[in-house]
Symmetry: D2
Subunit: 329 residues, 4 copies
């Protein structure tokens, strides 16, 4: 849960139209949604229109569209490319236009149904040949794991319980002209698979098209750094988002704020470039808003910067570069 | 020019609906085109509908949309992202549907206007920091070169004349759901900047959406391997294409045939993965259509395979893997 | 400091020749050292020979060889390639031979002199063109920062004090035939610049040559993930190491154990491959010593694996893949 | 064969101590060699000392050390890491010292024995998981091909004969301090596997240590771009080299001259960086010796630069960037 104290001291509170105060509450159910979206683009109709500050509870389906229901399922028989990673929305925010930024406070990500699903998919993952890192080796076998998820955590097996640390795998806005697969992260957010996008964080994403057009989906109950098998503990979830609007604040890609740190997010291949994008963007943020000289910011990050690997399996890999607020002066 | 002899012995002749015979001739002028397209997607209206085998002369604008007209222009003042690399089309091909493949014979790429333009753009190019390989160094200066292009070649300066070796920088089809920037190459073709896409070649691109929806633009008068400054000798051109349709032939990305060789094209970052995609696809082609065992094809390419660098500056880099027909048995 | 409890429960205690018990104490002073070493190779004479379990206090010089003594110094005038990153040792361990593994418990890294030095070097760092990621942009200016280091921390300026979190930047053994620059990390350890190599950790490195031949140097007072400027808070230090020997335990690269987790380390370019090496090695470790099925280990790391970026500036980049011991069953 | 006309107009003729004139002839037989070398380092004894301009015929063994003699051999049983890719030499050149450059004209690479050998090795090659691009997939099977090599070419099978296009896979000098595996290419030359290092070319390699210390081995009868299986048609050969010395000419890595073009060679991972090294070095060469402005050279290479893929399988990948002499003015 996001704390009131943080919310009131956040950038969202200081700069957004609704000052970080919660407005009306909406619900976007799966029935409201109708067809899911599989690309982040400006060609979709808004399913909901809200005012800055409004709170929306979105019912999301898991990344498999809910079709994998048993450990005996074969994912390659159940899944149909490119209809993977179904997204809810888009949600239009009144007054949002290019040059602005959506501020999205994540209040909650609540598992629906008491279970989560993960699997090994052929030609997908960090340690196997893929359609991009194309190899001639035989693929690994398909394996499905369907596990209990409850207050105690994610029950991997009799011995191992992993913490329930839910977050949003895929969230972002519509690009201006492009329609980007929901499997891909980039400057618009998208499939970042970054565990920091969790309850307690505020995400800032630049707007490219009228209304901003917010999409969300793909919640995870638990995930390691890199999501190395390509699949986390995927879960259907109810996601509670407070969506505010900052006029006239724009930058190169997603940013994130928590009680303790600020983070810039980069997505690219190879990982080196994802890191570079994130780092340069964080340096520029420190220079613009925290009175650092750019080269001093660079040297400070050299000593206390932190790097978080989001995913290294999606069409672009994601890293977050962060600095503790205590070093921002 | 494509030779008759090659055309008659080509895959297009053997497998396409019109057997590689030229049908009706069409013209898609800039006036017909109206607004240019800046994404390759299924959301655009066809500007022209043709039958398999028809020939189309497309008037294309240069990659700058024709706005750079003097060496005193500053590109950063004239160009407006994302409205770069304007594309003509899409052209719908009757009967084309997912699972098929367009066969596009390039008959001619004719310079219009007698000049070509190239430049150095800040943060664009293989040897400078970019928005992806993000650096803190200062960018290089902007430089525009506008040069005469005629039968003799591309007149770089008093001393240097480069050969006029025109080709199509950007050509491809609409993806099923995605709308991909015209700056980017991928499985759908797009901004490959591969000099082999020249008069005399036939390009095969899998269809993802009804009509195939062919886009084309961005012709180059001359370009080195890698297009390392990010900008070739850009020229407005008349492009003559014979567009045929092969039913029920589909694969992972663009393929190319000339009198002498067959080539598979891969686009990815880093370059290693572009090469891998191209190589694996060529191996699969050799195994499917030329009776090679897959591992034998791999070993044969180890000894006589050829790699061509298309671009290493676009959002994805492009390589072509080819083998001479004489080694195909 | 390493706790007794951890030391007694460690792999070192269970498998090493001296069972993790401390033997004789040695000191390798700068005077004893004489000439520093600048490559990790089998061609250097041992400066000290010890028994398994012996404790050595090594006086190390900073990565600049101590020649940068003022913020007015210009590093490019003071430093002479390839005589950078001076190393102490090698230390021969009696009985060590190829197929064995050195177990090195880091007891302490103590700053000598009360200061630390960092700088911006031209063409070195993660966000600038380098000799490898070769660019045409002008380099950044040289900047030297010489800062007070004391119990309170690293005093960056009047406002900012960073924690004193010392560790060993460069440590490793001699390869069998190669002599590897002390600037480079690889299978032998070397310049990993991984903050986890800190007091409280035990490092396991496979032996390639008689005596193992342990080198050490390049201690850091403070460093962020990635050491992105290429230079941490470099300090001369006294390093206290307990060096034990595990017979007949060998693997692909450095491993690390702390009270809480085990980690495998990979060094490569691009970062993707550093991550892959580390992850595969951790999976193999879990399969060999912790009774995981290899694919189950892969899937478990997908959910609770952790990735730590060491450096992304050296000739190879370094990542550590780790798992908390509590998930090892 | 290198033509007299080229030799007389070459950089070697204009700048080297012996002006490109052939001196005394030497022979370095396998018997003279004694033990092969497996690293390029300054720690080896010269097997031969020559004057600038002298010609040496070196008997080289194939990359397997000659131990694979039948298609029934299993390479993993016959080969012992790190004793792979045996090198002959080093040959000391009188008067060579750091800051100079060896100029090596390749007169001939003659097959010895009438056969060549290639194979698939587990975890080695461009399209399989390796020790660096570490994967969990099962390796491909081991396959050995031993083929006839004669005047007609390389006889792959009854249908396919590949051209005999012999070149030197591994050639270079000793680094100053490092000893680099003969499997790896870098600034010193080494295992570049670049087909342009063939009879008719002159190679220029900067000297790092007294005598230069020239190593050579690993000749190939035929090889495709990228040497994608990791193994070309490996052959024992007699290599005829004319070795001259250019005083006071030094640069970042190997360069190459033929009758038609000049080339700079870069080795790195990923391929992008190999290309960048090669390109920047070629630009610097054009600026230093051919009166180009650096940015003009960059733009000229953008239009007529050529890239050749050497290998993408060795510990570093190799690319050559070249420009035709006719564009050098």
């Amino acid at each position: 849960m996001i704390t009131d104290e943080f919310l009131k001291s956040s950038i969202m509170a200081r700069r957004a139209v609704a000052s970080g105060s919660a407005g009306r509450q909406h619900r976007l159910t799966i029935a409201d949604q109708g067809d899911y979206e599989y690309v982040y683009g400006p060609y979709s109709n808004a399913r909901l229109e809200i005012d800055p500050g409004d709170v929306v509870v979105v019912e999301t389906e898991d990344a498999f569209g809910g079709v994998i229901t048993s450990e005996d399922d074969r994912p390659t028989e159940k899944l149909t490319f490119p209809f993977l990673n179904p997204q809810c929305g888009p949600i239009a925010v009144r007054g949002a236009e290019k040059g602005d930024c959506l501020a999205i406070a994540v209040h909650a990500v609540d598992n629906r149904g008491g279970f989560g699903t993960t699997c090994l998919l052929p030609e997908f993952g960090a340690l196997v040949g893929t359609s991009v890192t194309a190899m001639l080796n035989q693929p690994l076998p398909e394996i499905v794991r369907r596990v209990r998820v409850d207050a105690e955590g994610t029950h991997w097996n009799d011995r191992l319980v992993f913490p329930y640390e839910p977050f949003i795998g895929t969230i972002g806005v519509a690009p201006q002209l492009e329609a980007i697969s929901s499997l891909q992260p980039d400057y618009h957010g998208g499939n970042m698979d970054l565990p920091d996008v969790r309850p307690g964080a505020i995400i800032y994403i630049p707007v490219h098209t009228p209304g901003g057009m917010l999409f969300v989906g793909d919640c995870h109950a638990t995930q390691g750094d890199g999501e190395i098998t390509g699949v986390a503990i995927e879960q259907p979830a109810n996601v509670t988002l407070q969506v505010d609007l900052i006029k006239g604040w724009s930058f190169a890609g997603p940013r994130l704020e928590t009680e303790d740190f600020i983070m810039a997010v980069g997505s690219a291949r190879p990982l080196d470039d994802a890191a570079r994008i994130a780092l340069r963007e964080l340096i520029r943020w420190m220079a613009a808003d925290y009175r650092f000289d750019e080269l001093d910011a660079y040297m400070v990050l050299g000593q206390v910067g932190r790097m978080r690997l989001g995913n290294m399996v999606d069409p672009k890999y994601t890293m977050g570069a962060s600095i503790l607020k205590r070093y921002l002066g």
